[in-house]
Amino acid sequence: MKQKTSNIQMEKPENLLQTIQQVQPDPKLYTAIKQRVKNRELETTPWSILKIAAILCGILLCAEAYIIATPATADFDNELALVSVNSNTLYDDNE
């Protein structure tokens, strides 16, 4: 009988898997999971604040760099605003 069983298992070994019973997990597992979720939330909060602060600093630094780099273009714009001397101007050279 043992030999016959062994032969069957050899022919269809995967069928032995069907004898495995389902097992219930330990009820304490949920408590452990909840605690891990809570710990992660506590860890994440300070990091989120730091990340946001770092991003804001980055933006401010970029803005500052842009402002420092652009004074020459501002003066050029002012020069363009001056009225050019041509025959259409109203002032008299003889005055």
Binding site: T19, P25, L29
Partner: protein, 169 residues
């Protein structure tokens, strides 16, 4: 999505699938914890284009396979470094769902299953232990039912060969 109700509805599924991969209670509990942490973190990413159960199956399978890979890396390092303390953590076959009279045969069977490619191993577990249909397995693994049938056929053939080789037949 209420986390507690999701846990209550799916904890047994997750735990038992994990058991089929690691065959011991301690590792299965670790994997179950990791799975539900991921479910908690990623529930906003869950688009609902598959059933929640299918999504949880996928996370469980991937987490179990990753866990095994990490454990095997530690084992290799322990053997290489002759780390006796680390070697103590290599657990024997101790599947709580296996009857005592089947323990030896099942240990040999799982040792053979571990040598199968991941897709064959997973298909075997889902079809034969979880007792899912080919259609359900196809949805979980994102393949066609025909592909699952083909993978299962190859898995059975490979399993027979591995067992025969190990017994010197």
């Amino acid at each position: 999505m209420n986390f507690e109700s999701v846990y209550l509805a799916h904890s047994s599924l997750v735990y038992n699938v994990a058991l089929q991969y690691v065959q011991n209670k301690e590792d299965a509990e670790e994997i179950t914890q990791d799975v539900f942490i991921k479910v908690h973190d990623k529930h906003k990413d869950f688009k609902g284009d598959s059933a929640l159960k299918t999504w949880i199956y996928r996370i469980t399978i991937n987490t179990s396979l990753d866990y095994i890979k990490a454990k095997n890396r530690k084992k290799r390092a322990a053997f290489k470094n002759r780390d006796d303390h680390a070697l103590e953590f290599i657990t024997d076959f101790n599947h709580p769902g296996v009857a005592l009279e089947n323990k030896e045969a099942m240990a040999k069977l799982f040792a053979a299953i571990e040598q199968l490619p991941e897709n064959q191993r997973t298909t075997l577990i889902l079809l034969k232990v979880e007792d899912l249909s080919q259609k359900e397995v196809a949805k979980i693994l994102d393949k066609s039912p025909k592909a699952i049938e083909s993978i299962f056929t190859r898995a059975k053939a490979n399993l027979k060969k591995i067992i025969a080789d190990s017994e010197g037949l």
